[in-house]
Amino acid sequence: MTDSTARVATVERERVNWSVVRVMLGRDLGAIVRSKALILPMLALPLVLLVLLPAAIGLAANGKQLRVERFVDMLPSALAAPVMAHPPQERLVILVLGYLVAPLFLIVPLMISAVTAADTFAGEKERRTLETLLHLPVRDRDLYIAKLLGGFIPATAVAWSGFVIFAVISNIVCWPVMHRLFLPTWLWMIVILWLAPAVAAIGLGIMVRVSIRVNNTQEAQQLGGAVVLPLVILAVGQTTGLLLAGPKVAFGAGIVLWAIAIWLNIRGARAYARDTMATRL
């Protein structure tokens, strides 16, 4: 048995077949784009968080002076300082759009990767297409990578394009108060480019494995809701504090998140085996 395991392992170390990955991805992403049932809930949260919220804040800041000092005073002085450094009329915008939305924003990639990942293997089982895939000359690892990217790409794409929309709306609506382009900030750049993909990868690392174990997407989402949602709340709570502590700390948090993400996904890929999948058909 040791001998055969070793031989299988050498075979698996061959290069990734990107053309297989690309075709699988094309199929899965094509299906997502066509499915209104998947697209609409995926876009609802980004819409509220990234379009409606900045519009509302901008309007509020334009109108009566909304005082945020009392809220900021409750924060430790080191965290309050970056906000208080701005002129009073800018503080609401800076506090909410510059800082508070950022950690909430991380829910977007997490949620989208979780929703798409729930569908990866459970969806194939539910649609009864898994067996056909197992009978293909496609290496386990290539299929697994395609499935991971199938969750990662939409999550990151929505997060990034959502941020662009968010930044444009925020800058326009807040122009009368700010008189400059205040977004993106360094902090936001780190959140978008460094933390958001890491969070998406964590969502995948958990949900793909859930998806392998259950029989349909709904079950995966229910189970995922029990695992991922508490994690979201925890993560958001923790990151809020970290983000206010500045870009460096945020970057450091990203390293931790990436380490977790990579660990989860490597473990997942190792655990994935054709025989196990065929047993659960």
């Binding site: 055969s4 031989r7 299988v8 075979v11 053309s19 297989v20 075709v23 699988m24 094309g26 199929r27 094509g30 299906a31 066509r34 499915s35 649609r127 009864r128 297409t129 898994l130 067996e131 056909t132 197992l134 009978h135 293909l136 000359p137 496609v138 290496r139 054709r274 025989d275 065929a278 047993t279």
Partner: protein, 320 residues
Amino acid sequence: MGEPAIICDGLTRDFPSGRALDGLTIDVQPGEVLALLGPNGAGKTTTIRLLNGVLVPDSGTATVLGMDPWRQGNELRARTGVLTENAGLDERFTALENLVVMARLRGIDADVARRKAGDLLERFGMGHRADVKVQGFSTGQRKRVALARALLHEPDLLFLDEPTSGLDPAATRDVVDLIGSLAAEQGRTVVLCTHFLGEAGKLANRMAVLFQGKLHAFGTPAELARGLWTGTEVRLDLDVPAPDALLSSLGALSMVIQAVPTPNGVVVRVADRDAVPVVVATCVAAGAPVYAVNPHDPSLEDVYFEIEARAGAVALPEEP
């Protein structure tokens, strides 16, 4: 004939629910059509999954197209085509899209894939629905598309898992004809799982009969019949059931193995052909007019049900 397309020895696989396949030892020659017969849960689908390297056995060995299915699985699967029990088409896509994706996952160029898929759908009478979403397709239409999918890459070995289940008689005949032509062309080897004997009888060179994971018989229908019964069966039409007196005088003949009355005469099992005139003479001498004498070669059905009956007799003590 060269080396066999499939050789397997002692193939065994357990699931938590029990042993699905128990020491399967068979061989399939290139260009041969092998029927894997057996009732629900006999282990047919498990056999296909094992031989195509999708499941790993708990013990036993196999060589398929000269390869080890578990170490060279992807190389092997590049040369096999599988029609799974449920067609496994993606309902969100059209028939053509389903085929093209699978062809491209097999490394076929997009243009070539589209052309081949189009040709095959046309050939299987699905050309007019190529660009329709699979969602509304009937079972028969799905089977045809899935069969086309199994052939896209011109495999040397085809595994067909219940290709006609759920089809109406006309569609069954079409699919059986189709499979027949597939087997005939290019010396393609076919493993056909079924519990319908009609299609097995029409298509298969040899049959392997599985019950509860165990191989109970393996060979051509004639070989199996020889193993099951000695001698030949002759049906005599006497217009009325054979009277007891006649039965006992037939039974007294040394070359008669068995004589069983039927509603219109008697079925006599004789050691060889030379016994037939003697049997007829005995009937006539007993005052029974003989209207017809028909030697009866056992059909696949006869063979199968006899094996099933004997296997059932073996298996019965296990049942509560």
